[in-house]
């Protein structure tokens, strides 16, 4: 059995980022670099066209009353005014955040646990890493279809497992109460390994001298994790949180395949609601306003997490 103290111990020391050769001041090269700035043009153009244009177009469309098949009429901020009074928009925003918080918490906790275990593994580390990669390289649609069968209330594996322990069958994705926890569980199955790999890289870069000093002071087990590992790992945890936040706030594929926003509107996240407005109801103007709102939410959350990361950087 692994000793808790050993589980949280780390080995290799890497150079601090301030010492990195690339950061050293080299005035002689600056002039030469300036001469090759035009080489950035293709990448800049690509970013402007492929990212800038759709964003600006969505922003533009959000100011129109525009249904597919009909002419567009400018309505200024009309769609945003509708959005503020749309009960389903606020419901979707609430569902989006509920799913986000629940899934992110599950993924950070289980990802950290996996990373700590993996950090201790010596012989099978490469194999385990490969196995960890496999869930998140699977397309979301495939994952959705797989879990649709697993969580089927009548023939699903999940209820069969519950029955082995004498627990009555659950409705899972068909229950308005349980659908969000179930979707969060599916996403955690797929993405906790990704979080684990980020945290594993973080764990391997932690300085060993701190652990040695803590060991001399008699720290061990959970206190080592709480007082040393977690604070030192905070930047990596925040990187994982930022990456997962962007995905979770615009989570779509698994929900679309498993529930389409149901039962009722219980899993109608903002992205699903916007999709339905746009591609089922063909209300492109309003769907664009919803997407702008979602983008704003993602940007605010990412900025907040990025600032937090700067504060916790060491």
């Amino acid at each position: 059995m692994t000793e808790p103290a050993a589980l949280f111990a780390h080995s290799r020391v890497r150079p601090g980022r301030r010492d990195h050769p690339a950061r050293r001041h080299r005035p002689g090269r600056q002039h030469a670099h300036r001469g090759f700035r035009w080489m950035l043009a293709p990448a800049t153009l690509f970013v402007l066209v492929m990212i800038g244009f759709p964003v600006l177009d969505t922003l533009w469309l959000s100011h129109f009353s525009f249904h597919f098949g009909s002419a567009a009429h400018p309505i200024g901020l009309g769609n945003y005014a509708t959005l503020l009074h749309d009960r389903q928009f606020w419901n979707s925003l609430e569902i989006t955040f509920l799913l986000y918080v629940l899934a992110l918490a599950l993924q950070l906790v289980s990802g950290l646990y996996l990373a700590l275990l993996l950090n201790r593994a010596r012989r099978l580390r490469r194999l385990l890493r490969t196995l960890l990669v496999s869930p998140f390289v699977m397309p979301g649609v495939v994952v959705g279809m797989m879990f649709l069968v697993i969580f089927d209330p009548t023939i699903g594996l999940a209820n069969w497992l519950l029955s082995l322990f004498g627990i009555p069958p659950a409705l899972w994705l068909a229950s308005p109460t349980w659908v969000i926890p179930t979707v969060a569980l599916i996403d955690t199955w797929q993405w906790a390994p990704f979080v684990a790999l980020i945290l594993l890289a973080g764990l391997q870069s932690l300085p060993s001298d701190v652990y040695e000093a803590a060991a001399i002071d008699g720290a061990s087990g959970f206190s080592l994790l709480r007082r040393i590992t977690l604070p030192l790992l905070a930047p990596s945890l925040l990187v994982a949180a930022i990456l997962r936040s962007v995905d979770l706030l615009r989570f779509f594929d698994v929900i679309y395949v498993t529930t389409e926003g149901g039962p009722g509107n219980a899993s109608d996240t903002l992205n699903i609601y916007a999709f339905r407005q746009g591609f089922v109801f063909l209300n492109i103007g309003y769907a664009s306003a919803l997407m702008v709102a979602l983008t704003a939410v993602v940007i605010v959350v990412v900025i907040a997490l990025t600032r937090l990361r700067r504060i916790t950087a060491w």
């Binding site: 597919f68 899972w172 529930t259 149901g262 039962p263 009722g264 591609f279 209300n283």
Partner: protein, 438 residues
């Protein structure tokens, strides 16, 4: 007398000659129709994973050989096909030449947007002899006509019917229900007698359920709109219909019925785990292909309710994009797929024929005679065609949104989140708000 006799003799000799000549001329015309006129062209066909397409697919290479026209096929599930199609049509792209279209759902919207090509002018002088548009059910042709223009050719005829297990009914002492009230009693009796079986299953998935619910609504004597053209779900008869539909699924449906559409229903009934399934007649072939079902399945229309019996009947059509750059070649494909010869082949594979001549052909009758359940199926389709309505949702062009509102209302009742009255009145308000937002 003699002159009359000569005339009679001449007539007797000439009539068969004239008939023979006429027949020969017809054959010559048929042979002279140039199927290779558009050889070398390529057309694209967007369709959904539907029994009609699944049965037609093996014959497509024959069309390519006959005409020299290459057909590029893209198949999606129904909703995804529609989502893909609207983006293509909105951008006026020629990416799709022909597509399957459910006019009862999207016809008014697509016609209003000018997305359908008018088929009438293309048919003139470009149709094989004997194609005969008058052979199609006039109701179906009417459903494919907007603003006096024919925008599609009917592919099938379908509507929701009840598939029930005759062996289970016999064992439980249940007679095929004659009214909606006795249908509820039959479900209750089946539940008591066969507790491991799902007594009743129908659609619970919000956007899909108006197809089955509409039949219930009409049999309760209600309509989506009242005489003044206002949403009418809050009326007592409509509230009763919503309560009945939701209660049946809640008390006698499978766990998770709220996510059920035709795929799950056909699977559940096909596996022998449901006593009654209220689902499209179009699922007849997949259900009959399930082991044992052709021997133990009985069929009936939804029994009459307080408003009598008003079955739902709709049909898919094959339409052409207004932005197609290969309209004549595309018309060749549409007419080939809907000829008497092709529809006869499809009918023998369980696709209910929209052509009268195919429905009454000896080959089709012989196929029906092979199994009593097939005869019953055709009989129900004929009844639907004679007395059914294609109103699956309010008569407005924003059908998908209206259907979602209706589906959500019923699901809220099914999930116990609202009473039938509250859900129905809220749905009326949502539909009114949608109509006001134009």
């Amino acid at each position: 007398m003699r002159a009359r006799s000569v005339l009679a003799t001449l007539a007797a000799a000439l009539i068969p000659c004239a008939l023979a000549l006429s027949s020969a001329a017809g054959t010559a015309r048929a042979q002279s129709f140039d199927w290779q006129k558009y050889k070398g062209k390529t057309i694209s066909f967007l369709n959904e994973n539907n029994p009609w397409w699944n049965e037609l697919r093996p014959f497509v290479p024959q069309f390519e050989k006959l005409t020299g026209i290459r057909v590029q096929v893209v198949t999606f599930q129904e909703q995804q096909m529609r989502q893909r199609l609207v983006t293509i049509l909105q951008s006026k792209s020629a990416e799709v030449d022909t597509f399957m279209s459910l006019t009862s759902l999207e016809g008014a919207l697509y016609a209003h947007a000018g997305w359908y090509a008018a088929l009438g002018p293309l048919m003139k002088g470009n149709s094989a002899p004997g194609y005969d548009l008058a052979d199609f059910s006039s109701a179906l042709i009417k459903g494919e006509t907007y603003g006096g223009k024919l925008i599609g050719i009917p592919l099938n005829i379908e509507g929701p019917i009840i598939y029930y297990r005759t062996d289970v009914f016999r064992k439980c002492g249940v007679a095929p229900p004659k009214t909606l009230a006795s249908l509820t009693a039959a479900a209750a009796k089946t539940k008591a007698c066969e507790p491991h079986m799902v007594p009743w299953v129908t659609r619970g998935l919000a956007p899909a359920l108006p197809y089955t619910f509409s039949n219930v609504l009409h049999n309760f004597g209600a309509d989506y709109f009242n005489a003044a053209g206002k949403p009418n779900l809050c009326a007592p008869a409509a509230v009763s219909a919503i309560a009945w539909y939701a209660d049946m699924l809640k008390k006698y449906g499978p766990p998770g019925a709220v996510n059920y559409s035709f795929v799950q229903i056909a699977d559940l009934y096909g596996q022998g785990r449901a006593a009654m399934a209220f689902e499209s007649s179009n699922e007849f072939t997949p259900i009959m292909d399930a082991p044992g079902r052709s021997a133990d399945t009985g069929l009936m229309l939804l029994p009459p309710g307080p408003g009598g019996s008003k079955p739902t009947v709709i049909g898919w059509g094959l339409s052409m994009s207004a932005f197609s750059r290969e309209k004549p070649a595309t018309w060749y494909f549409i007419q080939w797929a809907t000829t008497k010869a092709m529809e006869s082949k499809l009918a023998l594979r369980g696709i209910a024929p929209p052509r009268a001549s195919v429905a009454s052909s000896p080959a089709y009758k012989a196929w029906l005679d092979q199994l009593p359940v097939r005869q019953r199926w055709q009989q129900l389709i004929a009844e639907m065609a004679a007395s059914g309505t294609s109103e699956v949702g309010p008569p407005i062009d924003r059908q998908p949104q209206a259907r979602q509102i209706i589906g959500d209302a019923i699901d809220h009742v099914l999930l116990g989140q609202a009473t039938a009255k509250a859900a129905a009145c809220r749905a009326d308000k949502s539909i009114e708000a949608m109509l006001a937002d134009r």
